[in-house]
């Protein structure tokens, strides 16, 4: 590549590297800053002296956050919602996508149209709320996991993937006397690990990060997930009266540190799984985009 030797190109490479460095910094600095705020002494935080390195290192903010009784309950609720929601969604998506990936299935086109229409036109917030209410699901976990168990877009990804599995593999299993249910479990699903992994991760992130449905459907705060509590902490309605509480532990924790600690502790689970699973995330997007 001749152009690589030109002076102009060398300058471009330098500038480009600087741009990339700045971008990476712009993404990471908010996290580093919040992490240091959560670990710093209140005097430094209030004075606005904390950059991306903690000043007056201490873990008191985390101690205070985890002493807060609703946080622990919130974590339990979040885990419960995430596990149940993800499992239910994967099950529903699979039994819906597998039959629809069979091109010879009569009525397939009509069913796909029936499903995909809901991708473009949905009932909207109020009718959905009224329905959930009239079904008596308010204040139960089913209000969180049932209405959203099949996302048409994820269904599309799964159908596309199943449709790409060679028909011959299933044909030969059928000749061996296996029924469709067994073929699905024993042959199709093991061959679909990439899409299952990608969707599992999308769903985990969706349920873990969700707070809005809990806000409107769960009046009982004992059932609130941790994101809902973090939202209350950030808006200032939770951990109120923390001036008194701060006094208890020697004034070392500021409100900002408490908020930062709450934010960091709920994002940590996502941060921890991300490096190991990011290749599946990207794969999930690509499966969607190659569909012609």
């Amino acid at each position: 590549m001749l152009y690589r030797r030109s002076l102009g190109f060398k300058w471009f490479m330098v500038i480009n590297s600087v741009i990339m460095l700045l971008l990476v910094a712009a993404i990471l600095i908010p996290f580093l800053h919040l992490l240091s705020v959560s670990l710093s002494h209140s005097s430094a935080v209030v004075g606005g002296k904390v950059g991306i390195w903690p000043k007056g290192f201490n873990l008191d903010a985390y101690v205070r956050v985890f002493e807060h009784p609703s946080i622990i309950v919130g974590f339990k609720n979040s885990i419960f919602q995430t596990v149940l929601g993800t499992t239910l969604s994967l099950f529903m998506l699979t039994i819906c996508a597998y039959p629809l990936s069979k091109r010879t299935l009569k009525g397939r086109k009509l069913l796909i149209l029936f499903i995909m229409f809901t991708m473009f036109f949905s009932g909207g917030l109020i009718p959905t709320y009224m329905l959930v209410k009239s079904l008596g699901l308010l204040d139960t976990i089913w209000a969180i996991v049932l209405p959203f168990s099949i996302t048409p877009y994820y269904l599309l990804l799964m159908m596309t993937y199943f449709g790409g599995i060679p028909e011959e593999i299933e044909e030969s299993a059928m000749l061996d006397g296996l029924g469709p249910f067994r073929i699905l479990v024993k042959i199709v699903l093991p061959l679909s690990k990439p899409i299952l992994a990608a969707l599992t991760l999308f769903l985990i992130v969706y349920y873990w990060n969700n707070w809005f449905n809990s806000m409107i459907y769960l009046n009982n705060t004992d059932k609130h997930p941790v994101m809902m509590i973090v939202r209350n902490i950030i808006s200032g309605s939770e951990l109120a009266g923390n001036a008194a509480a701060v006094g208890d532990i020697g004034n070392s924790v500021s409100t900002a540190s408490l908020k930062a600690a709450a934010i960091m502790s709920t994002t940590l689970p996502i941060m921890l799984i991300f490096p190991f699973t990011q290749k599946y995330f990207a794969k999930g997007v690509m499966i969607g985009s190659v569909k012609g």
Binding site: I95, P99, G124, T128, M130, P180, I216, V230, S289
Partner: protein, 300 residues
């Protein structure tokens, strides 16, 4: 009765579909039918589909409501500005990333760039509020060095759109660039070699080879995002909303939420929601139709 061989073979597939179809009828079409509430009067404790027909009463109500039109205008403005910026930047980012020669560094940058896509919106807004805080925020203490008085960014109506759009860039630029990065990596290297032979420099190659090669991807993404442009990040807007910035931060979705679930004007809010939903449906269908005509790609 004789069972046809077709049914014998496909019976199991239809059995699998029973539960999903029931789900779609109840939870997806139920609320769609529930939109009749927009034309009917709701009585607390009564049917969710309302008690009596009132025709277009609720539509006339919001049509004559200046606060609805303010929300409508805010939605359009924010959508257009957001689309213009968040559509262009991922393309530029992908092009620049493509020029990084070291494969490992490239992967690391890309991975970091799309991590924010998985950060909860509550957390994103929480971070914004901390960083932009007038008392302890890093931005205001930085501005303080230049003698600028602290600005209460999240309360100022004039800053709302800037905050919304910049955080959208932060959250989604990397993620939205993945599709272009993939398109770039599949460009035939022979095309570059041929261009090189013709004496084209890197800039010339970008203009004459790279961009035409990824143009189909760009146009598909553009049409799809034009179609779905009104789907703003409702939760983010709701979290950023304060009474003092409501002049710019009230959009149709938050208007529906406030009217319906906070003030219990269910029929009124349903009417507004239905109106917004129909505009969205028209845009998406148009985008999808054009996309299929031009490139053969469509969502359905």
């Amino acid at each position: 009765m004789r069972v046809s061989p077709y049914f014998k073979r496909y019976k199991a597939y239809y059995i699998m579909l029973i539960l999903p179809i029931v789900y779609f009828i109840i939870f997806r079409y139920g609320p769609i039918i529930g939109n009749v509430l927009a034309f009917r009067k709701y009585v607390p404790g009564g049917s969710i589909y309302g008690e009596e027909w009132v025709g277009l009463q609720y539509f006339k109500m919001f049509w004559n409501d200046p606060s609805f039109w303010k929300a409508f205008q805010n939605t359009i403005l924010l959508s257009v500005m957001n689309l213009a910026i968040t559509f262009t930047l991922p393309i530029l980012f992908a092009l620049l990333l493509n020029e990084i020669l070291n494969k490992k560094i490239k992967t690391v940058i890309q991975t970091i760039s799309y991590f924010p896509n998985f950060v909860a919106v509550v957390v994103v807004v929480g971070m914004l509020k901390e960083i932009l805080s007038p008392t302890s925020g890093i931005v205001n203490s930085f501005l303080g060095y230049f003698g600028i008085d602290p600005i209460f960014f999240v309360n100022e109506p004039g800053w709302f759109r800037t905050i919304y759009i910049s955080s959208d860039i932060w959250q989604f630029m990397g993620w939205n660039a993945i599709i272009y990065t993939a398109a770039l990596s599949s460009v035939d290297t022979q095309l570059y070699e041929a261009a090189e032979m013709d004496g084209a420099g890197r800039w010339r190659q970008t203009l004459s080879v790279t961009i035409p090669q990824i143009l189909p991807t760009i146009s598909v993404v553009l049409i799809i995002s034009l179609g779905s442009m009104l789907m703003l990040g409702f939760e983010k807007v709701l979290l950023l909303y304060t009474p003092s910035n409501s002049v710019t931060s009230e959009i149709i979705d938050t208007f529906v939420f406030r009217m319906g679930l906070q003030n219990n004007n269910y029929s009124y809010a349903t009417a507004v929601g239905l109106f917004g939903g129909l505009i969205g449906l028209v845009l998406v269908s148009a985008g999808n139709y054009i996309s299929r005509k031009i490139s053969g790609f469509s969502l359905y």
